[in-house]
């Protein structure tokens, strides 16, 4: 495979043709914020938090999807880059509840000096009641940053179920089933792969949602046990999140060669028998 040479922040780097600027940044250890990007999903480049300055380009370019080219000169920490990253994080945090995003996201907000409150107390938000319409998972769209990841995981990137899509337009865009139908009446097969890719806690196990509501969700006291799903012969890698000797959530590692992080309804939600047997 042929390689191209490019410069990132003045450092020369070789990158495989067909890879992205983001890949090259990571090789150099340049921490680049991302929200809508995930290695196992097609880049949609909608969040714009990964933008970098490319010499010769009129506007900033998304590192997550711009392919490397010979001789590119990229700046990842210029004034323009820092400004746009800060504004993207501020605009999002001023309209969405981002309190359950990862520590990494909060770190980026600190790094770029994001102050979401400067848009004023009247700034419109996407705040709305949590959708609880089934026993397995809840949808809290007050936390949705519209990164399209769940739509992709539900669609061609993993599950091919297409139960949800982006509906509406502009600030009123939102993730929805057809006509906002409750999940049990939709095409949803409860694989939970949307939960697996959600970066903000908008999609959450009902078990986690209930425990958080009751104040009993203690992430610091949880342990993670790796195992293999007992149901069929595929052999999906599972991570059982356990609190007080009970399974509270199931995930699969993104880099697992078997699952790429994706599971089916049984692996994701079919863990009650473990607890039942003990009683």
């Amino acid at each position: 495979m042929s390689e191209v040479a490019l410069t990132i922040d003045g450092r020369e780097v070789l990158a495989r043709k067909g890879t992205t600027i983001l890949d090259a940044c990571r090789r150099l250890g340049v921490d680049t914020p991302t929200l809508c990007q995930l290695d196992n999903l097609t880049p949609v480049n909608v969040c714009r938090v990964c933008v970098v300055e490319l010499e010769g380009a009129r506007v900033l370019v998304p590192a997550c999807s711009r392919k490397v080219e010979e001789g590119m000169k990229v700046a990842t920490d210029s004034e323009r880059v820092r400004h746009s990253r800060r504004l993207v994080l501020e605009l999002l945090a001023s309209s969405v509840d981002m309190s359950l995003t990862s520590r990494q996201v909060h770190g980026w907000m600190d790094r770029y000096g994001a102050e979401p409150s400067r848009f004023g107390p009247q700034a419109a938000t996407v705040s709305q009641p949590v959708k609880v319409d089934n026993d397995l998972y809840v949808r809290d769209y007050s936390r949705c940053i519209l990164c399209y990841k769940c739509v992709e995981a539900c669609g061609v990137d993993a599950q091919n179920t297409f139960a949800i899509a982006v509906a509406g337009r502009g600030f009123d865009s939102h993730i929805s089933t057809e006509f906002d139908t409750p999940l049990p009446d939709s095409a949803c097969v409860y694989c939970g792969n949307c939960i697996g890719v959600c970066p903000t806690g908008a999609l959450m196990f009902k078990s986690e949602h209930d425990m958080r509501a009751a104040g009993s969700w203690m992430e610091s006291q949880q342990t993670v046990t790796e195992t293999v799903c007992p149901y069929c012969g595929v052999g999906c890698m599972l991570e059982l999140h356990v609190q007080d000797n009970s399974i509270v959530k199931v995930t699969s590692p993104l880099d697992s060669s078997v699952t790429s992080g994706h599971l089916c309804v049984k692996g994701r939600f079919g863990f009650q028998f473990v607890q039942k047997r003990r009683q």
Binding site: V46, S95, A167, G170, F171
Partner: protein, 527 residues
Amino acid sequence: MDIRTTGGPATIEEMAAVDGVLGEPAPADHRVVHGGRAARSQRHMLLPILHEIQDRVGWVSRGALEYACRRLSIPPAEAYGVVSFYARFALEPGRARTVHVCDDIVCQLVGAQPEHGVNCLGLCDRAPATLDEKQAPERASVRYPGSRLLRRVGIVDPESIDSYSEHGGFKALRRAREIGAEQVIREVTESKLLGRGGAAFPTGRKWESVAKAEMHPHYLVCNADESEPGTFKDRVLMEGDPFAVVEAMAIAAMTTGCDRGYIYIRDEYPLARNRIAHAIAQSRAAGLLDIDVEVRRGAGAYICGEETALFNSIEGKRGEPRNKPPFPVEVGLFGRPTLVNNVETLINVLDIVNGEFAETRLFCVSGQVKHPGVYDIPLSTPLRELLELAGAGSIQAVLLGGAAGSFVMPKQLDVPLSFEGTRAIGATLGSGAVIVFDETADMKRALMRIARFFRDESCGQCVPCRVGTKRQEEILDRMFANGGSQADVALLGDIAQAMRDASICGLGQTAANAIASGLQQLPVLNV
């Protein structure tokens, strides 16, 4: 994929609407599986189907949409995402309107204050404008004498191919066929024609790239989704000289090896749509158009004038712009090399091939002037001269380039109307919109209307534009209500920079231009 539908059956009328577009469904035979790739390949018929449903029934019910989904093998959630994207489609009975009253920048300026005003209808030469879809009126347009591009408008019978031929029609096509594709491209390149849609890309280079593209088929797309507030030149061309548009498309297709063509016309131009469809049929029958050209009807979305959003719309998807590169000449409509040109750009090709090309450009003058209309004037004419022609009186400001453009002040009226000239004063020709505000105009209202326009028309895909246009409107509103502060101005500046730098497409990148230039220059707004 299994299509799961739970919305109940469609009515007979709704099913007839869908079947009218797609043809009768195959008779029920449970030994044969229908759907799959054959059905999905018809996905691009989704918008025509939705139009047909709404035209017949007045709205798009869940039953109707799900029937369409079953026939096209589209997941209902995805189809719902498409219907809810376009302002045109009503998802509740009684919501669809067939009479639209505009209250955008120009119409508001001359007094329109409707209860449910819509964004610019492209009828600014007759502001305040209303559009009754049921009876699209004949529209006389003001013409500047000696016009090159509009020379046939108002003279030729727009519904007669013979009349068009008698007025010099198809001469360029005949010559193009004689001299061949390479020579046509050479002449277009040598003319230095720049795209008239707003981005001013060299047309010859685009044509050459598509002609040389190895992947086939090639598609031809005429962008007639003219939606920039204050812009109506393409409407005047399509209504008054539709055969010229078709002739230019025939030359473009022949020259760049396009196998199929589309002309995407905004929904608010029913007369143009009918005339273009008629001209296509006539030209095809007369053997003057070698490829099938389909008229596609927009559905109320400014963003679909952005070329890649337009492709998505033709493909039956939400009109969300794609990331570039790859550019349309490589990966365009249906993922194939695509030549996409604006109406005015294409029309110019006729004169290039006929050896009659001159560097003129169409300007749409509207607002507080005596003679609003389309003016065909030489490039680099001073703005002042154009305003005199249109009968402008005392001037407070001119909005050049529409909502995505910027304000020009009285002391700058000698600016030559050229790409370089306008750039020198930080303005742009954009789509050729020239909106005139006299001293009585309420500029705060104008700025608020521009902010509302972008908030309304942002597709919602990328964060800077989706939230930025919302915040921009909120902050302006607050400033005008309470007097505002330097901090508010700075905050707007911060948002503007991020929208300009980090938005996916031209909409977000220009959504702060007019407001920023207004706040900077208009004395009434100093805080």
